[in-house]
């Protein structure tokens, strides 16, 4: 078995105590993923496993054996171009110090898939119909697991909203974003 990280298989660590975030950073040198609170409170360590956003600080690396992990390093073609959401964070001042940004971006990318699948949130008025109300409020509720101590939340919501709106426009006009 192996942990597949951004398409490359790696053998899991021998010591089961190693968390996934420590494995990424300390053993593989993939330092894009950040360690914040180390107790599941801040979202800085968010990565995507088998398509779902999860916290790498509360995951033992051995638990990711046989699964596909996607980190911030996977975004942008050939590590040269920016992902549209990375560009949107720059355009909308979605950060100051940048420490929470990889987690925010991984979280938002998976969140966009959840919205596309029509999954409701706590504030979605009609559970059966799915999200169809205020997009900004939906983003705020759905991104509540990612904290920004610089207080760039308004810019973060702007950036995510612009990405979602651009994707929606592209879908309607048939032009790729």
């Amino acid at each position: 078995m192996a942990i597949v990280i951004n398409g490359t298989p790696y053998p899991p660590p021998d010591d089961p105590r190693v968390s996934l975030v420590d494995f990424l950073r300390e053993e593989l040198g993939l330092t894009g993923t950040k360690l914040g609170c180390n107790q599941g409170g801040c979202g800085a360590c968010t990565v995507i496993i088998d398509g779902k956003r999860v916290l790498s600080c509360l995951t033992f690396a051995v638990q990711a054996d046989g699964r596909e992990v996607r980190t911030i390093e996977s975004l942008g073609a050939d590590n040269t171009a920016l992902h549209p959401l990375q560009q949107a964070f720059i355009d909308h001042d979605g950060f100051q110090c940048g420490y929470c940004t990889p987690g925010q971006i991984c979280s938002a990318i998976a969140m966009a898939d959840e919205l596309r699948r029509g999954e409701p949130s706590y504030i979605t008025s009609d559970l059966a119909a799915g999200p169809n109300g205020d997009l900004r409020q939906e983003i705020r509720e759905r991104m509540s697991g990612n904290l920004c101590r610089c207080g760039a939340h308004n810019g973060i919501v702007d950036a995510i909203e612009s990405m979602l709106t651009a994707a929606e426009t592209a879908k309607k006009t048939g032009v790729a974003a």
């Binding site: 599941g40 779902k52 999860v54 959840e114 409701p120 559970l127 705020r140 759905r142 991104m143 697991g145």
Partner: protein
Amino acid sequence: MTPFSYQRAVSSGAAVAAGTLQQARFIAGGTNLVDLMRQNVEAPASLIDVTDLPDSIEEKPDGSLVIGAAARNSTVAAHPVVRAHYPMLSRALLSGASAQIRNMATIGGNILQRTRCAYFYDVAGARCNKRQPGAGCDAIGGFNRYHAILGTSGSCIATHPSDMCVALAALDAVVHLQGPDGARSVPLNDFHRLPGAAPQIETVLRDGELITAVEIAPSAAAEHSAYRKVRDRSSYAFALVSVAAGLDIQDGKIVDARIALGGVAAKPWRATTAEESLRGQTVSIERFRAAAEAELASATSFGDNDFKIELARRTIVAVLGELAGTTESGVEA
């Protein structure tokens, strides 16, 4: 963190067999257990990963819904049948934790999560009867804004933190178990224990038993149900008080009422007194208020959490009023 061995179970039988190892613990999402291990509240010698066990959500021929214990909170919350027929369950799940944690946490693990009492976590600095029986309780007389008002004892005033379990209590869910001595089922309302003199014993789970599934029966009250969570911030916070409720109203009369409270006790608190006072009655805010008063009559508070008694009353009345389409000024819908 204390060293431990790790293995992944391929079946419930294999998990139960491995669970007989010394100081073994089952792990799934790990959102609570990993934290407890880091804090040295828990120090298992071996972890049995049950993530790969059944996680299906299936309707049985009799209409009941069976949810595999390894199903993730987010999967259950988004399931079309849950959204359409058990809205209080979907809403309760969606109110809990963050999106990332809901993607990790499982139904079985959620039922077994442990209290978020800060004194329980503070191994170095606080006394806790749950962590160390007989040590004393620093929450009593300490910072207890988040603590219980119902079913407390002189040894423990901790709350059960789950939102999902509050809905499962109101829905009369049944927990399916498999253990070294075979399989059995326990109603969720009998699964968790009140603290009494032994707060360290939190459930009726026997040594080595594994939760394999949760079963819910359909009902008119479940169809017409809601979950409201009151907390210090509007998202990603534990409940101060929460209410799961469902009403079956026919010709203006309450045929069935299901009410459970969260954030108020060591277990999800099924409000049977309130329910009984409502059955057969006509719908009115006065009746709802009387039911809430009756349920909270036995409540006691500890200083910082005095507000919870009134908050619980008001939240019950508000949720029932919303479900019945009734407000202070009369019937709206």
